[in-house]
């Protein structure tokens, strides 16, 4: 069937750089392990299922440089294997423990199977490095992998220092090339944060497209003829794709959205909290603090504390139903839009990847089924990637998008509020100091140690700039950790600055920092030079 329009689904996969070799166990590293278990591997499995069935699906994913660095890190890989081994052991015990209760036992056996499968996929199929998995689908032409700011720095609040912005882009492109073997064509600006003029920097590094939140396009100048339903070119020639509100909301709104369905798995009931402490102790925090393990036996059920037992096949059925509903609604939306447009509309639906699977456990099944339906010959909408849309419609309106982000209220408030505004005094200062050092030393014939110190200073600056820290402070979740990370990196930078300036570099200190904050091994500090 001739398609009437297109859907471009974009999954933004990101985690801040959390890696603590100095500790044997570090709780926040679980963010990565949980995301691998519940999101990254299940999504790869969904892709695999589609691929195996010969379905030519199209989807876009951003893998942030921090995530690429962690996925390819041997220490974290090793720790993930330990993590999944412990989970398999727990699941084995659970299968025995629940043998007299068939409904629980059914869920327990599902977990055991999934954990064993995950381990097998991680270790044997992808050789401990999931990037290989994503690369496979990039090579097959199904997955457009895009990059993101080097450490997920929120660029609008960095724009007083264009070198700082440029470094976030350049280092991202380098990291992409290192891990994926070619240059990225698109970028997900961290937090969808676009600031007018930054597209010039994207252009400089060969990036062809990025995304903005809805109002970034809607409030662009001049008025965008197609709203968010077609890309627009920035004055630099880089294309901007605006986010569709309706498809976002239909997935994520608690009242109208799918993930709140009572058949789906309840996120907040985990055996880490529910079971006898002595029994569960080996699988929680070594200090005996209860944490989520990933084994969750209940469905959402409703607004009650008496939760019903999760039924995996019933939940899968609902995920398919919801995917069909989502597909149906996109068809209707696109048919409706077609009345007002003289070209085929494009609906851009970006989401945080980790929501699928981690929070919405059945999310990867939903994605798989939606892609399946969209690729069916009877479907009158098709999925495609932004590049493919630009190939179909190479002529687009030229506009200047408006400053925007996808955070609460659409601008900088989340990252610039009384809870976190104190960081900018330091972030702006150290970025300036970095420019000062780089400018001075780029023309000096400096020795290896100085170069190492400068490279490390750049790493500390970049890590301090992660928008995640400000985000956590704003949302009042693991504030202590976010504050510590911010202070650590700023202080480390300042110490390096003093040592470099005073020509008193301590080799042990440099070595220790390289060991702690080892991201971007081939970083070139001269990007900061004027």
């Amino acid at each position: 069937m001739e398609e009437k329009g297109y859907v471009s689904m974009v999954l933004h996969a990101h985690l801040p750089y959390v890696r603590h070799p100095e500790y044997k166990y570090f709780l926040e590293e679980n963010w990565l392990f949980e995301a691998i278990n519940e999101t990254y591997i299940p999504i790869l499995c969904s892709f695999d299922n589609l691929y195996r069935d010969g379905i030519n699906f199209k989807i876009t994913m951003s893998l942030t440089p921090t995530l690429l660095a962690m996925l390819s890190d041997p220490l974290l890989q090793e720790r993930y294997v330990k993590h999944i081994d412990a989970l398999i052991e727990l699941a084995e015990k659970e299968v025995v423990r629940t043998q007299l209760m068939s409904d629980y036992n059914c869920a327990a056996r599902m977990y055991l199977e999934k954990f064993q499968l995950n381990r097998n996929i991680f270790v044997n199929k992808y050789g401990n490095n999931l990037i290989n998995g994503f690369k496979k689908f990039q090579d097959s032409g199904n997955l457009e992998i895009i990059t993101c700011c080097a450490t997920h720095g929120f660029l609008p609040l960095m724009s007083v220092n264009s070198k700082a912005v440029e470094a976030q882009i350049k280092i991202a492109v380098d990291s992409y090339r290192r891990h994926l073997g070619k240059a990225p064509r698109g970028i997900w600006l961290a937090e969808c944060g676009y600031f007018p003029g930054h597209d010039e920097i994207l252009k400089k590094y060969g990036i062809q497209f990025f995304f903005t939140d809805t109002h970034g396009i809607l409030h662009s100048n001049p008025r965008p003829k197609y709203g968010v339903f077609a890309p627009a070119f920035c004055p630099s020639g880089v294309a901007a794709f605006g986010r569709d509100v309706e498809s976002s909301r239909s997935v994520w709104s608690m009242n109208e959205g799918y993930p709140g369905d009572y058949n789906y798995r309840e996120f907040y009931r985990d055996v880490g909290f529910d079971l006898d402490l002595d029994y569960i102790r080996p699988y929680i925090h070594p200090d005996g603090i209860r944490i989520n393990t990933g084994i969750k036996y209940y469905k959402i059920t409703g607004k009650t504390n008496l939760k019903e037992v999760y039924n995996p096949s019933r939940a899968s059925y609902m995920a398919k139903e919801h995917a069909a509903n989502f597909h149906f609604n996109r068809v209707k939306q696109i048919e409706h839009l077609a009345h007002y447009m003289d070209r085929k509309p494009l609906v851009v639906s970006p989401y945080d990847a980790e929501l699928f699977g981690h929070w919405w456990y059945e999310g990867p099944q939903f994605i798989e089924h939606f892609l399946r339906l969209s690729c069916d010959y009877k479907s009158n909408i098709k999925t495609l990637t932004p590049v493919e849309y630009l190939e179909k419609y190479p002529k687009n309106q030229v506009v200047t998008p408006s400053f925007s982000s996808w955070g609460h209220k659409g601008y900088s408030e989340v990252w610039l509020s009384p809870q976190n505004d104190w960081v900018y005094k330091h972030l702006i200062e150290i970025a300036e100091r970095m420019v000062e050092l780089a400018t001075y030393y780029q023309s000096q014939s400096s020795d290896l140690l100085v170069n190492r110190a400068l490279a490390q200073a750049a790493r500390e600056l970049l890590l301090a700039q992660s928008s995640d820290w400000a985000f956590i402070m704003y949302n009042n979740t693991t504030v202590e950790y976010a504050v510590k990370r911010t202070k650590d990196h700023i202080n480390r930078f300042n110490l390096l600055y003093e040592q470099i300036k005073n020509r008193r570099i301590e080799p042990d200190f440099i070595q220790a920092l390289e060991y702690h904050d080892n991201i971007f091994p081939d970083i070139d500090y001269r990007i900061y030079a004027m």
Binding site: E34, M101, R223, K225, G260, E354, Q397
Partner: protein
């Protein structure tokens, strides 16, 4: 960006006490959010006009507020009151005395309704300004509008920031390589350093600078760093006596009104400020002292900034024209009429571990096109189911049995017909959760030569009874 829930929970466990305390703070986040939601919308028009008055055309009325309320207006820790204060003579000796108390009251004002504070001695300064200007002289209307709209805007960022700043005061930094405590420890990779670098950050970098950042179309944030030398320099220029009578101000230039500016009077200790501005306008700021004689001595000047547009552009593109009304339709279908609360908020909050119930109030209920009708029916069905489940008394009793024992290491043992694995010493242990029922759990041990057999059978009963009693009054 996800998976923070587990950690969150850990923090809760660890710091149960602190968390409890936090919950009692008046500015508790959730409650503030609620009040924001209810109060912002009605105030919108008012604040819009107030904005025009307070910044685009600074009026004498605003200045009068500052005069009538004297010290209060001077030290109130909130943005705005962008008043042309050239001639204002403030009584600043009170400022130092009242600084802390004022800051605290501004926190209270977040959770208390203004009406309740009428005539109260602990009246927050911001509110007092409003009341007085009500009966104040000419043009006080402007001041009233401006001040009251600020009160309604509960998210007024600097109120919170002032509070925060008193709490999180960082000592002057004494950073040097020696302050790093490094210890060698063993781990996977052998010996290495643990570096402790989480000491307080420098309070000043000894530079004279003023930076402005855009928070949203209506608010900008300015922060500054001024070296003592620079302040001493100013002291020398204006003379000691005049210096102590001078006010520290932020001078805000609106690029659209050439040469015109408005002044914001700062508290002595402030090092940042949120300023209420207009969308789609261009600003630059100067930080300095305003002497009693009206001279402005500049300490630093800021970068130029342009606030973003808050609505669709008026500029139409000749090459990309549409028929009348089509753009408006596209704008509406794009969700343009319901911007502000992006669904990304919902996604992100949930992804990062917030309970959905806490968040549901933030969700906009608007539907952008006709296409969602099929979802409505689904939603309705779910609601009905929910109602059925609600208000049901409940109780859970988990029961587990641990069956453990020992036999000859080479014997074979089955439990309920299933073979179980013996440890090397012949012991075994099985843990099982029990459902509601009468269960026999036979354990059968057979010797390796298959001659002897021992059967031991624990019998377990678990029953749940639902009784309905007459409601006795």
């Amino acid at each position: 960006m996800v998976v923070k829930k587990s950690v969150n929970q850990e923090a809760n466990v660890k710091k149960a006490k602190t968390v409890e305390k936090k919950a009692n703070v008046p500015g508790d986040k959730m409650s503030v959010k609620k009040s924001v939601k209810t109060s912002v919308t009605p105030a919108k028009n008012e604040s819009g006009s107030a904005r025009k008055i307070s910044i685009a055309a600074p009026e004498k009325g605003v200045k009068k507020t500052a005069l009538t309320t004297g010290k209060k207006a001077v030290s109130r820790p909130k943005p705005a009151a962008v008043s042309k204060t050239k001639k204002v003579k403030a009584e600043k000796e009170i400022e130092t005395k009242e600084k802390t108390s004022v800051k605290k009251t501004s926190l209270k004002s977040e959770s208390k309704a203004p009406e309740k504070n009428k005539n109260s001695k602990t009246l927050p300064s911001t509110l007092k300004a409003t009341k007085k200007s009500n009966s104040g002289p000419k043009k006080s209307l402007h001041a009233k509008v401006s001040a009251s709209s600020e009160n309604k805007k509960r998210e007024n960022p600097a109120q919170k920031s002032a509070v925060k700043k008193t709490a999180v005061k960082t000592p002057v930094n004494t950073m040097s390589a020696t302050s790093v405590t490094s210890a060698e420890v063993e781990n996977l990779y052998g010996k290495h350093y643990i570096i402790n670098t989480s000491q307080d950050l420098p309070q000043s970098y000894g530079k004279n600078r003023l930076i402005t950042l855009i928070r949203d179309p209506e608010w900008i944030y300015a922060f500054w760093d001024v070296a003592d030398d620079k302040i001493n320099e100013v002291k020398n220029i204006v003379g000691n006596e005049d210096f102590f009578k001078s006010k520290r101000i932020l001078r805000v230039y609106d690029a659209a009104a050439a040469g015109k500016y408005s002044d914001i009077e700062l508290t002595k200790t402030a090092s940042s400020w949120y300023i209420h501005v207009k969308p789609e306008a261009s600003y630059s700021l100067e930080l300095g002292y305003l002497t009693p004689k009206g001279n402005f001595v500049k300490l630093a000047e800021s970068n130029k900034i342009e606030t973003p547009r808050q609505s669709m552009s008026e500029v139409k593109d000749e090459k990309w024209m549409v028929k009348d009304g089509v753009f408006e339709k596209i704008y509406e279908l794009s969700g343009g009429t319901q911007l502000g609360m992006s669904s990304a908020d919902i996604m992100q909050a949930m992804a990062r571990g917030m309970r959905p119930e806490e968040f549901s109030e933030l969700i906009t209920k608007g539907i952008s096109s006709e296409t969602l009708s099929s979802q409505f029916s689904m939603e309705k069905k779910r609601e009905e189911e929910d109602i059925k489940r609600q208000r049901k008394f409940w109780m859970v009793l988990n029961t587990e049995i641990i069956v453990y024992g020992a036999t000859e290491p080479d014997a074979s043992v089955t439990l309920m017909g299933k073979p179980i694995k013996l440890r090397q010493d012949g012991t075994f242990s099985i843990r099982m959760a029990l459902p509601d029922s009468d269960i026999d759990i036979p354990a059968v041990g057979v010797s390796s030569d298959k001659v002897d057999e021992i059967i031991i059978t624990p019998c377990v009963h678990k029953h749940t009874n639902y009784n309905k009693k007459e409601n006795s009054f």
